[in-house]
Amino acid sequence: MSLEQFFILLEDMFFSFIASFGFGSISNPPFKALLCAGALGAFGHSFRYFLMNMLGVHVVPASFLSALCAGFLAFFIAKKMHTLIEVFTFPAVLPMVPGVPAYNTMISLVKFLNAGFESGHQYLEQVFYNGFLALFVLSALVLGILFPHLMFSKKCWQFPRKS
């Protein structure tokens, strides 16, 4: 990894930290937990960026892997801080939500309806491609983040216990 790529990653981390922190603050978690959630979000997004742009992994498995790593990190942080694990996992995936594909789906759909059936079929292909991309990325994120929840559910419930 060259120095330039390292700085790109750092920049990515910075902005995804702000995104996770800001969106996390809407749900009013304790401040310390909010900072950790922001850091997790930064880790998740920059890890996905690393996987996609430097190792050439496809966006769906990259999303799944980074959500999984963020989920397991959240597991350990929640255990340490005696907090519910949701406080960390929910804001951590927010920067990875596939907003642009979802938007493109809608735009292409409207364009298809506008152009009519005869001349608009190339828009329909875009609808399907973008729609399924958004759906798969979203499912990969949620599955990755829920994996520790479901695998160690009994342990996760006991995190807020103080004894």
Partner: protein, 271 residues
């Protein structure tokens, strides 16, 4: 019925009866707080069971979208049983409440607690103020701006997304105070936010107008209910999960409608 009223005559049972009704009231309050602050059904029920156990009661919960019904049953010999039902107001996410109530429930379950003290501690938790509106306003706008950057927007797109989010948050807070239907508020908010971001397209600033438009409405996506609904379906609370998915989809459709309005005004061909 007859058996209950006869049993209620004895002083010991009367005492138990009043304990039961007080505990029931408190547990209903706790349930409403938990559900409103965005806890999924499984977690809510687990927390309630932990609260009721050290007092010698079993709790049975029927949790629906708009109402909750609790039944308390005296575990030892089932001689006391009370049921009550309460309405649930709208969702207002608050992880602090969830976290503290979960912690409190473990404390009660492990060490036991006096009902008066539990009541006091509960009210102490509930009265903790949220972050101020202005802080949330600033962080949300900054977060959406950072989002725009992550999707590849340039400086103009970032600036207008920041402005759009800030204006939209303000408009939403003002409209919600007037008790307008929340879905209608969402359409207007999405319209305002995307129109502001659309200024990049209108005045030809930068060349990532479509990214600005796409990210300007993302701060309204109901992420927590969406994830919660999946957890509920996986844990077997299928109806509650489907309801949450449906309501989240309604919200997303409303956001899309607001965005569509902007696109019609700006002209679709340019995008």
């Amino acid at each position: 019925m007859q058996k209950n009223s006869a049993a209620a005559l004895s002083p010991q049972n009367q005492e138990l009866n009043s304990l039961c009704s007080r505990l029931l009231e408190l547990l209903l309050d706790i349930t409403v707080t938990l559900v409103c602050s965005g806890s999924h059904s499984g977690k809510t029920i687990r927390i309630l069971k932990r609260f009721a156990k050290p007092f010698g009661f079993e709790v049975y919960v029927m949790l629906q979208t708009k109402s909750v019904s609790l039944t308390l049953l005296y575990s030892a010999d089932h001689r006391i049983q009370q049921t009550a039902i309460r309405h649930i107001p709208g969702l207002h996410l608050n992880f602090y409440f969830q976290n503290m109530l979960s912690r409190l429930s473990w404390e009660v379950c492990d060490n036991g607690m006096d009902l008066d003290r539990l009541d006091a501690l509960y009210h102490e938790i509930v009265q903790t103020p949220r972050y101020s509106f202005y802080v949330i306003w600033l962080t949300t706008s900054l977060a959406n701006m950072a989002f725009c950057r992550l999707f590849g927007g340039d400086a103009y797109a970032m600036l207008f997304v920041f402005l759009g989010t800030a204006i939209a948050c303000y408009v939403r807070a003002r409209l919600l105070r007037r008790e307008i239907h929340h879905l209608f508020v969402l359409i207007i908010t999405a319209f305002v936010s995307s129109l502001t971001a659309g200024c990049t397209e209108l005045f030809q600033l930068g060349n990532t107008a479509s990214i600005a438009l796409a990210t300007s409405v993302l701060f309204m996506i109901p992420g927590v209910p969406l994830i919660n609904s999946l957890i509920e379906i996986l844990e077997g609370h299928i109806l509650n999960g489907l309801e949450k998915i449906m309501s989240a989809c309604t919200i997303i459709v409303c956001i899309a409608l607001g965005l569509l309005l902007t696109l019609v005004i700006l002209g679709l061909e340019n995008l």
